[in-house]
């Protein structure tokens, strides 16, 4: 355990520096002068240098440049053409090998850029798939190529680091026309595919054990997107036997946007409906998450109302509500979104020469990207959208437009009723059995399912007391407290700071969840993990109420790689307390980074039970439910 962990902690900060935000000197420092790309003429030999050691097992750490170097990540690719592609297709036959690479890469870069951000990866995955090889390593290399391109293309910081190289390659790039580049790229891909088909395990075999370790190393550390996509590629191959090709693509979770990837962010911005200014001082560890200046968003949206013709008013309204925080709580958000989509579907008419299934999916996609700009989707919403898209895709072609729309709307209704409202009722029914007279129940925040449980238990005449634990900045607990006290339930209100004081008198902890991941990790409002851990330390059982539609097959170990950043201002300022707003003038200071996390991940060790619509299950059984009932969720 420990030996594994230590390197990770060491490499993590470095990993973050792979993002193109840090200043260049930092990265170029460790770059040794023998860096393969550093000078053009030496580049071909250095490639050769690079691949044989990777073929042999004697890879010294000196030979391998550290992973943050673009070139080292490139090396697998560079090896490829050397092996399979002795520069025939290159129009300027005399151009050296590295030119080849540069141009191919340029071509690929274009391809990646042209497809939308998640799709960009699929392009490559498709390529891998066609290669029909089943080596995870190959997935890694291919993916790493994709992720590298921005360096080559987007220049920016990278240019400074390897300026002469890039300038040369740029000049060379100009020589090849687009068509030529594409031809080249096509040919290369085909060559790669055949090579892979020939000896299934090419990359691993060719590079030997050490090399595979190396490539693994070079790919792994970069931020989770690479991991995601690599895992995704591997997953896709492993799952080969199950669904047919087409379905498979849909099933694979799309990689999340990494906001420390500058070029992608640029691209996304170009497509964005709302112009958002990114917050300046962001915490190093969370650069991959989006964070915007709140004020600008609102005025921007307001002024653009009449220009935003693609967005349906209902969706627009919901989006604004997300943005202003009027709707929060994952169930409420999910229901609001689905109802907005229902409205949108009602008013939808298929344009001529288009099919409903395709056009509507695209339409919903555009609504979604609008909603995401307002606030990142929650996992529950993601699941609901998956359901909806599936329904649209499975619509029989024979249906008329009216019928199709009616079916879809009733499907959405059914989803809301069965998966959320009925599920809550079942959860309440189960959870109430765990409340007995004399209990002291603790809850954190304002989880809707728990509130229903408490109210129902009160209706049944159980005698219990509730401790509502709350936290800044939202203070949602006060709402819950208000409603509970209104019903005549005996309550105690405290902030999370006092959790260890209050815990010793508590007999049960009831928590809500934004999502439950398949390793049993509960992803929920920030602070939940703290409450669960304190409860565990006090031997108080922790019960998590969560509808099964929020379960997700993803596995997450910490709350860093996927999270949401809230408005940093709300934690630096306290409304109406001018006397203690010490940070007023200094929020723009370079030295001050404010971090307002929205979610955290609670490890399954601290959770005694998950109450879901399938009954009360231990956290270890979440994957069973995910596995057995995911289909059902999609099709209901």
């Amino acid at each position: 355990m420990d030996p594994r962990r230590a390197p990770r902690t060491v490499s993590d900060p470095k990993v973050r520096k792979v993002g193109f935000f840090t200043d260049p000197p930092d990265r170029s420092l460790p770059g040794p002068p023998d860096h393969p790309i550093s000078s053009f003429p030496t580049s071909p030999p250095s490639t050769i240098d690079n691949s044989p050691p990777s073929a042999g097992n004697s890879l010294s750490p000196v030979m391998i440049p550290p992973p943050r170097h673009s070139s080292s990540i490139l090396s697998p690719l560079r090896r490829d053409p050397a092996e399979f592609f002795p520069l025939p297709a290159s129009p300027t036959a005399s151009t050296s090998f590295s030119d080849d690479v540069a141009s191919t890469m340029k071509g690929r870069g274009v391809a990646a850029a042209s497809s939308s951000l998640p799709g960009g990866l699929f392009f490559y995955i498709a390529a891998i798939k066609s290669a029909a090889s089943s080596v995870p390593a190959s997935g890694l290399t291919t993916v790493s190529v994709v992720n590298n391109l921005p360096i080559e293309k987007g220049g920016g910081v990278a240019v400074e680091m390897q300026d002469d190289q890039s300038s040369r390659s740029k000049s060379l790039k100009e020589k090849t026309t687009k068509a030529e580049r594409r031809a080249l790229q096509e040919a290369q891909r085909a060559a790669k595919a055949t090579a892979k088909a020939e000896d299934g395990k090419t990359p691993a075999a060719a590079s030997g054990g050490a090399a595979s370790v190396k490539s693994g190393k070079s790919v792994k550390p970069p931020p989770s997107q690479k991991n995601d996509s690599a895992a995704l590629a591997a997953l896709e191959k492993k799952a080969g036997d199950r669904p047919p090709e087409k379905d498979r693509k849909k099933e694979v979770p799309q990689p999340r946007m990494q906001f420390d990837d500058k070029s992608r962010v640029e691209k996304a911005k170009r497509r964005a409906v709302v112009k958002q200014t990114e917050a300046r001082n962001r915490v190093e560890l969370f650069r991959h998450l989006p964070q915007y200046e709140r004020g600008t968003q609102r005025t921007e949206l307001r002024s653009k109302f009449f220009e935003l013709d693609p967005v349906h008013p209902a969706v627009y309204k919901v989006g604004l509500q997300y943005l202003y925080g009027d709707i929060c709580g994952s169930n409420a958000r999910c229901i609001a979104m689905l109802q907005a989509f229902q409205e949108a579907i009602k008013d939808y008419s298929t344009p001529s020469k288009k099919t409903l299934a395709r056009d509507l999916t695209a339409k919903i996609g555009s609504y979604l990207s609008f909603l995401i700009e307002c606030r990142p989707l929650s996992i529950s919403m993601g699941n609901a959208i998956r359901f909806l898209k599936n329904r649209i895709a499975k619509l029989p072609l024979t249906l008329s437009e009216l019928e199709a729309k009616a079916t879809l709307r009733s499907d959405i209704d059914r989803f809301i009723n069965e998966k959320i409202i009925l599920a809550d009722k079942v959860i309440v029914k189960h959870a109430v059995t765990k409340i007995s007279d004399g209990d002291v129940l603790l809850t954190y925040g304002s989880p809707s399912a728990v509130e229903m449980v408490l109210l129902h238990a009160h209706e049944l005449g159980k005698q219990f007391r509730v401790v509502v634990v709350d936290s800044r900045p939202k203070l949602e607990g006060q709402l819950l407290l208000h409603r509970l006290v209104g019903k005549g339930i005996n309550c105690t209100y405290t902030h999370v700071n006092a959790i260890s004081y209050i815990m010793h008198e508590v007999t049960r902890v009831f928590l809500g969840a934004s999502s439950v991941l398949s390793n049993g990790t509960v992803y929920s409002k920030v602070g939940t993990a703290c409450v669960a851990m304190v409860a565990h330390a006090f031997r108080v059982p922790v019960l998590v109420c969560c509808e099964a539609y929020k379960f997700h097959e993803r596995v997450q170990l910490d709350s860093l790689c996927s999270n949401e950043l809230g408005d940093p201002d709300v934690i630096s300022k306290i409304h109406g307390r001018e006397d203690i707003n010490f940070l007023d003038g200094s929020t723009n200071s370079e030295n001050l980074q404010l971090l307002n996390l929205i979610y955290d991940a609670t490890p399954s060790d601290y959770i005694s039970m998950i109450i879901t619509d399938y009954g009360m299950v231990p956290p270890t059984s979440v994957p069973v439910i995910v596995r057995d009932y995911r289909r059902e969720h999609l099709w209901i």
Binding site: K434, S436, R508, S608, M609, G615, V617, P618, T620, S621
Partner: protein, 398 residues
């Protein structure tokens, strides 16, 4: 630690007197049993336990004429338990039924080796056979009623409830039911019911076979209470000429450990009796702990005779494996969060001296052992880790 030198075997070979010296403890309870009138003493003194058990149950039935509370719970896990424990709930309503599942159940239960859940399953199969219903729905309703009446006979018995539920699931969830005519569907049901009864019957053998890999020569096994499954496991091991010794706890309050030690001594297994509080004292000599279960709950933990949790805690802190032998019909859809979160099963405890009325006595008969203290569960579905229990339950019930 695992492959402890089997010195005690050598000892035994050197002087065969050891088992003889063992015997006095067997006779030791003789003076005691005067207090519970027809309990341990009878069983202990009786040379053939088989006959005795059935007689025991017969007298029991004759005395009470009802299905009583704890008796059902004991039927499966601890035959020799204190018979007076039951709160002897007046469940006379059950006995009042005309055809009686209960009678059928009782007659099945007279077979000494038959667990009560299996008896219930057999009784329910008989219900199907004797059913006058002409439609599937009627039959199902009748079956439901019968199983309800069986269950209401004793709410504290986990395996009875679980067995009935499982049977209902197993029998009624067959796709063949829809398109066939009633008679063939009914015969299909009976067939399925018989099959299920068979499976349940064989469960104990399967478990015994599965667990043989875990008992190695020279090991020391700590056993708590009397469980027929555990006994079967040990018996099989002894018959296959494995050399091991057994530590039996006394198993207060019903002293079922005495019974087990008696049985084991008959098989010439070296056995040592401990008082319940000597578990931690002897734990460093022990290689593994074997317990049965009243019920296996959804978290993967078990509900078993009082003291199991304690032993599991000690074993866990000393890094000894705790194995549970339990048939799959004991898997119940329960999820206790802590010790108090269960239907209480009470049994009176005899302290030998009169207890002043001001002194309160904890009379709970069983406790809940959380899954993190268990190593493996031996079931007829295979050798499972505790977390698999929930998976199996989800598959069975959803």
């Amino acid at each position: 630690m695992w492959w402890r030198s089997p010195s005690f075997i050598l000892d035994k070979q050197q002087s065969d007197t050891v088992p003889h010296q063992r015997n006095p403890p067997d006779t030791l309870p003789l003076p005691l049993p005067s207090q519970p009138p027809f309990s341990m003493a009878d069983t202990l003194q009786n040379p053939s336990p088989e006959n005795n058990i059935s007689a025991y149950y017969q007298t029991r039935a004759a005395h009470h004429a009802v299905v009583t509370g704890d008796w059902l719970a004991q039927a499966q896990a601890a035959i020799g338990r204190d018979p007076d424990d039951s709160t002897d709930t007046t469940v006379a309503t059950v006995a009042g039924k005309p055809f009686s599942v209960i009678d059928e159940f009782n007659s099945w239960r007279k077979q000494p080796e038959l667990a009560e859940a299996v008896a219930a399953i057999r009784a329910l199969a008989a219900v199907i056979r004797n059913c006058q219903a002409t439609t599937m729905m009627e039959l199902e309703i009748e079956l439901k009623k019968a199983s309800d009446s069986l269950k209401s006979g004793d709410t504290t018995s986990i395996s009875l409830t679980a067995g009935c539920d499982l049977f209902m699931r197993y029998v009624t969830r067959t796709s063949a039911l829809e398109y066939e005519d009633f008679d063939s569907a009914k015969s299909r049901l009976i067939e399925r019911a018989e099959k299920f009864g068979e499976i349940s019957c064989k469960a104990r053998r399967i478990i015994a076979m599965l667990s043989q890999d875990f008992i190695f020569d020279g090991c020391t096994i700590l056993v708590h209470g009397f469980s027929r499954v555990v006994f079967e496991v040990l018996k099989t091991a002894a018959q296959s000429k494995k050399l091991f010794r057994v530590f039996c706890t006394e198993g207060r309050p019903d002293r079922s450990g005495l019974r087990l030690s008696n049985e084991l001594a008959k098989l010439d297994v070296p056995v040592k009796l401990l008082i319940d509080s000597a578990v931690a004292y002897t734990m460093d000599e022990v290689d593994m702990v074997f317990v049965g279960a009243d019920g296996v709950v959804e978290s993967g933990g078990i509900i078993n005779m009082m003291g199991t949790f304690q032993i599991a805690l000690v074993a866990h802190s000393m890094n000894k494996p705790v194995y549970v032998a339990a048939e799959s019909y004991k898997f119940a859809r329960l999820y206790p969060l802590d010790q108090k979160d269960m239907v209480p099963a009470l049994c009176p405890i005899d302290f030998g001296v009169p207890i002043p009325s001001k002194v309160e006595v904890e009379t709970s008969a069983r406790d809940y052992t959380p899954p993190q203290y268990l190593t493996l569960l031996f079931t007829d579905l295979g050798v499972l880790t505790p977390s698999v229990v929930s998976d199996e339950l989800i598959q069975l019930y959803l």
